[in-house]
Amino acid sequence: MAETGPREDERHPDDLIGMLTLSANLGRIYAQDESEKANISAIDTMRHSFRADAAALFYMTGEKDFRVCLAGTDFPISLPEKRWTLCVETHSGDASIARFGPWSLPGIEKPLSDWISARLYTSGSSSGFVFLGKDSGPWTEKESAALASIRTIIAPIIEIRFQRDAEEHKRREAELLLSRNESRLRDLFEGSRDMIYTADAGDSITSVNMSGPNLLGYPTKSDLIGKPFGSFALNPSDRSLFLERIAKDGYVDDYEIVLTKRDGTTIFCLETAHTLKNPSGGIRELQGIVKDITQRIEAERDLWRTNLQLAEANLKLQKTQVLMVQHEKLASIGQLAAGVAHEINNPLGFLISNGKSLEKYFGKIRAAWTAASASPDPALSEFMVKANLAGIFSDADAIFAESRDGFERIRKIVLGLKDFSRVDRSGDFDSYDVNAGIESTLVVAWNEIKYVSEIRKKFGALPLIKARGSEVNQVLLNILVNAAQAMGGLGRSEKGVIDIETRAEADKVIISIRDDGPGIPENIRNKIFDPFFTTKEPGKGTGLGLSISYDIIVNKHAGSLWVESEPGQGTTFYIVLPVAGPPPAGSDAGSDAGTGPVSA
């Protein structure tokens, strides 16, 4: 700004007109320019009016910045607080006007001899000052009074401007804080990896963070906003229960719910939510956080599944173990029976042969007696009558016949027992005559059957089949004994009938055993082959017989075993066995035929 000296007609402020002019100028400057630069114009004008060599306006901004405006410069200068304070301390005392000198303005080497300063205002602990300095002689009383008057006029202006500036500064700071807080909350909301949402009283989603659409597989928030939350639940009634609870308690903690994604897949979620109520007590807004816990649930599920599978496998293993033990037992019983039979066979042998010899000798004695009866010796006749030889000879035939019969029966039973258990053969697959096997089994089972049933046999011409005879006989025995026991349980006065038929068909042999017992009800018909299943009283059967039979026929011999039955009309068991036996080990059927000696 160009420096010009005062015009001649410009009045000094110690003159009333001059003072009014200066006041008006200052008022105009401050009215026209709200910025800080008005202070420059103002101090320039002051220096000009007072004809000072230097002038400075010391003040503070609303941001607590310490500044000075020097007349003749273009911009306010910021001073460090200490320096500013040092300067303004030269305006000493409580008086509003001070005189001092020599002194120089900060940053200006040249001191001036006479200074006058005015305190413009005080705000808190700070004040504003105007300093005027000149070299041309001391300031007069009039000039001092003029400055005091000017001070009275402009001080309020400066003070108001300072306060306004300070308020503006505070306002801006508060806004900044608010905006930072808002940003932080917004970041919290948007940045959360859990879904955070709000919904209205009707449970329609009103706002949501991006984790919401991400969780549910939608591209944008607007895919969720406006929709009822329940529309994303797999079972909407789960959401209804949730809403009931939150209406009652005002909040819900850790509510598990299954949600459906856009692609139809399901996720397991955990929600914690609360409501904002309006004054009447109704729900104004619902605010919730939804967490995806699918991974955790799936890990737990895998654990349960594994344990359940283990428990089932364990149970199966136990049952198999029992089956195997039972197999072993039956095998040893068979061996035992065969051993006993063998023992009986020996003495039976010489009983039979002795009987024959005895009969022969008796024949000779009878011949002698016949010849002797012809001789009429009275002493001999009397002796023979007394000895009742006639009676003896007459009974003898019957006795010998019965004995022969008895021996024959024992022989058949022993043979049947040995044949049944076939312990003289190896335990492996061998040629087996089905019809003969049935016959020997009937011998063993006869005691169970004979009181309750007749047997009718219709045997076809069968080839020998490859099988483990002792095992097949076990199966036949099991079925026959079951039939007999079922029929016996009916308590009928007349004996029933068991029909046994065999026939060959292509490469198979088919056996059917039909009884006219009570039949098997439909609801247990598919359970009879289960291990431990039994309809007998506790202690009267293990329930293992048919499961073992099934194992032997189906698994070991690659055959089939099934039942047909009508309650009240009887039961038929069908056994089908391949003539060639089971396929070799390593192929599909998984049996162990032909792999060397193997126990049952």
Binding site: L234, N235, S237, D238, L241, D254, E256, V258, T266, F268, I293, I297, E300, R301, W304, R305, N307, L308, L310, A311, E312, N314, L315, Q318
Partner: protein, 122 residues
């Protein structure tokens, strides 16, 4: 076995769920009502464990879920663990009257085929 004694011993009172038990010659039936949430399910697991220990021989345990309206993962766990224990003891365990939304959770988890169900009159 007095099932109600067991219930009193192992079960706290919950505002949202209850358990009731009846015994007959076939075994024990437990009726579950309400919310099977976290705490409820933990107590239920203890009760089931105790009940399974008390049932002799081949008596069966039926868990009736007709009135269950909420099933948490802890509830699924309680039932699964009960089934595991029952299998170990070769004890028949049946679920009864599962509502479709409860069943759907088991099916989603692929656990349904491990459980046996019994009809409403069985």
């Amino acid at each position: 076995m007095d099932v109600n004694e067991g219930i009193a011993r192992y079960f706290a009172k919950y505002p949202t769920g209850t358990i009731r038990g009846t015994e007959d010659e076939m075994g024990l039936t437990l009726f579950v009502t309400g919310s099977m949430d976290l705490n409820f399910s933990q107590d239920l697991q203890n009760l089931l464990s105790w009940s399974i220990g008390q049932l002799e021989g081949q008596k069966r345990l039926i868990i009736d879920l007709d009135k269950v309206n909420y099933l948490s993962s802890t509830g699924v766990g309680a039932l699964s663990n009960a089934l595991i224990e029952a299998r170990k003891r070769n004890l028949p365990l049946f679920l009864r009257n599962m509502q479709p939304r409860i069943r759907s959770v088991f099916e989603l988890l692929g656990l349904m085929n491990f459980f046996d169900e019994i009809g409403p009159n069985g």
